[in-house]
């Protein structure tokens, strides 16, 4: 496949581009879903094609095609350059690219059990079984499903990169919904988005869906008669690790994307409350807050060998001891921001999407407390877990998150279950109230397989190492 990428890059340069790169991507995707004891959908998708990117002046041009012939690749390269030239008609300052070593390499992630080789019948039996179990234990509607992606990509650049990667990802989810008179309640496992990683089918076996099906169905049913989450202006709030993954993703991960900070996403995804002039000095959170973006974590969903610009995966400090110290960046955004090098965070969703800044594995480094210790140390508060709804403003400051389940905490003990728990906050104020941090044994590399960004829309796969945390003085419930 390298030959097609070579042809596209050569044609783009011949057409006047000062830099060009091309990716050929071959992706297979398999998914199956079951509902109420019946397999309902099985899809096997394949796509292969080439996307080429050309830079002229301040403007990128990108063109993609499913035609994999040398002639078509050359035409695609020329077309990318023509588009870049049109971009230059509404110009900014010339874009520069931070330097990187031109590597020739191969990378693949470790896979214990090839997920595409596991018999479909075995996969279907598991989904049918867990949805039946949920129905038997109180669910009006029970869903379960899995996704597998098997991606090979070949990168060539006009600077000499020649890298191929093979990345296997998979994961699964299930949920139980109970209907009440005028409401529905839902419980998911392992989380609302399931759990995904750069691993083989062994990940799905470890999740143990069968061992959790009855529990979540019973909890969904019990939530119908639980009291509603009280509305309080300020309380101590313990958040489980699945919801913390979402909290990190929305209020830290997106906020530190350099393209947002530079205004490149202003009209759609939004900007960021962060100002580059404060990088290295701004207090983002309490001293306990340490966030890294690390694409080298084995098995995490945001892991790879090289990003789609050929930058090797490496850990990047984002927040250290509560101070904002880093961003998610690519070669052009890093150069524009005056940074020495790319953060290696540029990826495209398939051959037909322009690579852009995406989260890798943006996660919280663990602390010293267990969840039980957090509960025991809380006189009057709430515990919430499993994301149900998420909404945050276009600067990534003002958020309201809802969880599937909550519990009151009284005198150091978990009390009544409550339904419809929500909490609200302003990013830095919230993170500065962090005063207890889960320990290593509580750490989970959560995987989010559906992060949307960009126009045309792209779906990103991101990882979020997370532990339970306690925050002080948080508004919970909804003001009437």
């Amino acid at each position: 496949m390298f030959e097609f990428a070579d042809a596209a890059v050569e044609a783009a340069i011949a057409a006047g581009a000062r830099y060009a790169d091309a990716r050929v991507m071959d992706r297979r995707h398999e998914s199956m879903s079951a509902r109420n004891g019946e397999v309902e959908g099985l899809t096997q998708e394949g796509s292969v094609g080439l996307g080429v990117r050309a830079l002229i002046g301040s403007g990128w041009g990108f063109y993609s095609t499913a035609d994999l012939t040398t002639d078509a690749a050359r035409a695609a390269g020329a077309q990318a350059a023509a588009i870049a030239r049109a971009s230059a008609s509404v110009p900014g300052a010339d874009l520069e690219l931070t330097p990187i070593e031109a590597r020739q390499d191969h990378w693949s992630n470790a896979v214990g059990e090839d997920p595409l080789s596991v018999p479909l019948a075995e996969k279907g039996d598991m989904l049918v079984s867990v949805t039946r179990t949920m129905r038997e234990h109180g669910a009006d509607t029970a869903n379960a499903g899995y996704h597998i992606w098997d991606t090979t990509k070949w990168l060539v650049s006009s600077e000499g990169h020649r890298i191929d990667q093979h990345i296997v990802e998979c994961g699964a989810s299930m949920d139980a919904t109970a209907n009440g008179e005028n409401e529905t309640q839902r419980r998911s496992y392992p989380g609302i988005r399931g759990q995904y990683g750069t691993r083989g089918w062994e990940l799905i076996r470890e999740l143990d869906l069968p061992g959790n099906a009855a529990r979540i169905a019973e909890e969904a049913r019990a939530l119908l008669t639980a009291p509603a989450c009280p509305s309080r202006d300020a309380t101590d709030l313990i958040i489980g690790s699945e919801q913390m993954a979402l909290q990190i993703h929305e209020s830290v991960g997106h906020a530190v994307e350099l393209d947002r900070i530079l205004g490149w996403e202003a009209a759609f995804a939004g900007t960021s409350w962060l100002d580059l002039s404060q990088l290295g000095t701004l207090r983002f959170g309490s001293d306990l807050m340490n966030i890294t973006a690390d694409a080298t974590l084995p098995g995490a969903l945001g892991s790879f060998g090289y990003d789609d610009e050929g930058t090797p995966a490496h850990p990047v400090d984002i927040v250290r001891d509560g101070i904002w110290v880093g961003v998610l960046s690519g070669r052009d955004s890093a150069a524009l921001a005056g940074l020495d090098s790319s953060g290696g965070a540029v990826r495209g969703d398939g051959y037909n999407r322009l690579p852009m800044v995406r989260m890798t594995n943006v996660g919280l480094l663990p602390g010293t407390s267990s969840l039980d210790e957090m509960i025991a140390a809380t006189d009057d508060g709430m515990l919430m877990d499993t994301n149900r709804s998420w909404s945050i403003d276009d600067k990534r400051l003002n958020f309201q998150f809802g969880c599937e389940i909550g519990w009151e905490i009284k005198d150091g003990k978990r009390g009544r279950m409550v339904k419809n728990p929500t909490y609200t906050g302003i990013g830095p104020k919230f993170w500065q109230s962090l005063d207890m941090l889960g320990n290593e044994s509580e750490l989970t590399y959560w995987g989010t397989p559906n992060c949307g960004k960009g126009q045309p829309g792209q779906i990103g796969h991101t990882g979020h190492p997370a532990v339970p945390c306690r925050f002080r003085g948080v508004r919970v419930g909804v003001r009437s």
């Binding site: 959908g41 041009g61 279907g124 009209a267 419809n420 045309p456 003001r479 009437s480």
Partner: protein, 444 residues
């Protein structure tokens, strides 16, 4: 690749009598020119090609897709999908294939849009940026032209095509953003200069906004906000799957909305875009969902129709077996009030330009949280008195549109596109609503 219907036939030929089969083939071009901080920073075009196959072997169902149309690739697609189906249990809800039937005579197509060069999109962007003048600007101009062919082994054959174009952007002061957008099936209907001027006007008039205490306020919602609401009503309410599972508010025949509201899914409407059939090859037709406030209908694919004893309304989506049916061309009937008349009738309330990050808290009650964006103004005694900072709301959409809750319906029916919308887009006028629950402001 040969023509899309030809590819459909080649796939069906390979399946032969071994299964019930349906094939959808899409080809065309999608292009989008994006700008920010006053320059074009991302500019893309994709030669779209997709082949989707669904087949059933004795009720054992599997789907497959590919984007290569050579003989070897089609052989592989058919065989792997047949193999997968053979390993499946029988699907008790398999509704069978759509019978042969004609689709409405709809051709939402414009050659100039389908073949638009990057320079044409850049011209619109340049006009928007120039109109913004000293203000920073950002947004995009997109064009697309897609041809879709559908064929199944029950004899159904349909071909449709659709073009669409959008100019969407913001202008920014130091303290505010103002947005404007226009969508059409014709690129020639877009005007970057005019769109940019409107964005500038909104940005300047919402600068230096002040906070407002959360609470219940009357609202004037723009067509953009209203179509956002329609999305939730559609997916979580009128969707036959949601009704089947008991998650929907919708009760056909009941007065669940204000009598000033009438809503239809209508690909034949003059402002609509998209093709006149769905992913199962069922022709679309005008479908009344709300008539003078009364819930009048539901949207179905073949599966949900069978489950509820109804007929498919032509609202299946590719890969939507677990999701249900989705209307593609909702049109909320406009009223007669101008924007000034709507504002003039407000005692104390807010004018809202855009919603942002709306998420459902409970599908049954349609309680949704979200934020305002790109311009909010306080109105007192029919006059705009000042801009306010963005607010969070937590509001039941069904209650907000309920009997007696709609105080005015605008005449400004507007098609609201977004990114790629070859499958359709919603159109709505502005609405004046009696009460909206704002639950937080910039301070949290």
């Amino acid at each position: 690749m040969s023509g899309p219907m030809d590819v459909c036939e080649r796939v069906l030929e390979r399946v032969g009598g071994r299964a019930e089969a349906e094939v959808t083939v899409s080809t065309g071009t999608e292009a989008l020119t994006r700008f920010a901080t006053g320059f074009i920073h991302q500019n893309v075009a994709d030669a779209v090609r997709g082949i989707h196959l669904r087949l059933a072997v004795g009720g054992r169902v599997a789907e497959g897709s590919a984007n290569q149309a050579d003989d070897v690739s089609l052989d592989r697609l058919v065989q792997s999908t047949l193999d997968a189906a053979g390993l499946q249990p029988v699907d008790a809800g398999w509704p069978g294939l759509a019978p042969a039937a004609d689709a409405p005579d709809v051709d939402h197509w414009d050659d100039g849009t389908a073949t638009a060069e990057p320079a044409a999109r850049a011209d619109h962007v340049g006009a928007f940026v120039s109109a913004a003048g000293e203000l920073e600007s950002a947004g995009y101009c997109s064009t697309e032209g897609i041809e879709i062919a559908f064929a199944n082994s029950a004899g159904q054959r349909l071909v449709g095509r659709a073009t669409a174009a959008t100019m969407d952007g913001i202008a920014r002061t130091a303290t505010s953003d103002g947005s404007a957008r226009v969508s059409s099936r014709r690129l020639a209907d877009l005007d970057g200069d005019q769109t940019g001027r409107l964005a500038v006007e909104r940005a300047r008039s919402s600068a230096d906004a002040g906070d407002l205490e959360p609470g219940h306020y009357e609202v004037i919602l723009s067509p953009n906000c209203v179509t956002d609401m329609l999305y939730f009503l559609a997916v979580y309410g009128f969707n036959g799957r949601a009704v089947e599972e008991g998650r929907s508010f919708a009760r056909v025949g009941e007065m669940q909305f204000d009598r000033s509201l009438s809503l239809a899914d209508d690909v034949t409407h003059p402002v609509s875009v998209g093709v006149p059939f769905d992913a199962e090859g069922t022709p679309k037709r005008r479908l009344e969902l709300i008539t003078d406030g009364q819930t009048a209908g539901l949207v179905h694919d073949r599966r949900t129709a069978q489950a509820l004893g109804a007929e498919s309304t032509g609202n299946a989506v590719l890969g939507g077996a677990s999701f249900g049916a989705v209307p593609a061309n909702l049109v909320l009937a406009p009223g007669s009030a101008s924007r000034d008349e709507l504002i003039g009738s407000v005692r104390r309330g807010l004018v809202v330009t855009d919603f942002w990050y709306t998420r459902i808290l409970d599908p049954r009650t349609q309680v949704v949280t979200g934020l305002t964006r790109n311009g909010v103004w306080l109105v007192e005694d029919g006059r705009v008195v000042r801009p306010v900072t963005n607010l969070r709301f937590t509001q039941s959409f069904v209650e907000a549109l309920g009997p007696g809750a709609v105080l005015g319906v605008g005449s400004d029916l507007t098609l609201v596109g977004g990114g790629s919308f070859g499958d359709g887009a919603f159109a709505a006028p502005s609405l004046h609503l009696a009460s909206w629950n704002f639950t937080g402001n910039a301070k949290g």
